[in-house]
Symmetry: C2
Subunit: 110 residues, 2 copies
DNA sequence: AATATATACATAATTTTCTTATGTATAAGA
DNA sequence: TCTTATACATAAGAAAATTATGTATATATT
């Protein structure tokens, strides 16, 4: 995912946020979009992505819809209602995380 | 550590930064300082902290010095020269992480 | 005096999340 | 023809945390 360990735990937030913006996406598309948005800084590996998608689906945050494009399989994921609510929570947690870390790292500004 | 999974992977950064500011600290003191600086938002658990300190020591980033205060044991940790350099790296990684996540979560501002 | 809480360390079992490696299959480009 | 891109998947192992214990002393509460 990256040389930095800080990304551990943020994959779910990333997936949910992208699906919140793009309505429906398939796995490979997510990896490409992340690479594009971060200018190559962050690469989502398949070994992390697919299990994460399956888990989110199992938890009822994502719905899946299979399609065949150019004779190749695609699994389109989209947020459920619960998933949309959870996206809001995850984004709040991210904002809170950043605030907390800044308080630790830059206590003068707190 | 917190209800949010985002803190996973940031403990080392937190420890190094606190030691960079406070010269020498012991484990329990670190847990209290974090609680104080984050107004209770973040609680470092012992099961995470002590193994992390031992690892940083083993890697040569921290030096340890045992003291007895009020008939109780304290292990004071301080940054080695290597540890000071690594602190700079970790803080750069944190800044980069925040930048990257903001690009993902708020692409309009990127 | 007894009990609970705070201080101070530690480790073991388990869980979560990720990396790395591997596997299948089709399409497109060199 | 061979490599790269597209598109999915899982298994083995590593890393970092949680949760549960354990030891021990000091202080505060009942």
């Amino acid at each position: 995912m990256s040389n930095s360990k800080l990304y551990k735990g943020s994959l779910t937030t990333i997936i949910l946020k992208l699906l919140n913006e793009h309505d429906k996406m398939y796995g490979y598309e997510i990896t490409q979009k992340v690479k594009e948005l971060t200018k190559g800084e962050l690469k989502i590996t398949e070994g992390a992505l697919y299990p994460a998608l399956h888990k989110l689906e199992a938890e009822g945050l994502l719905d899946v819809e299979v399609a065949k494009v150019d004779n190749r399989l695609r699994k389109y994921y989209k947020l459920t209602e619960t998933g949309t609510k959870e996206t809001v929570n995850k984004l709040e947690e991210l904002a809170e995380y950043i605030k907390t870390m800044q308080a630790l790292v830059n206590p003068k500004l707190a």
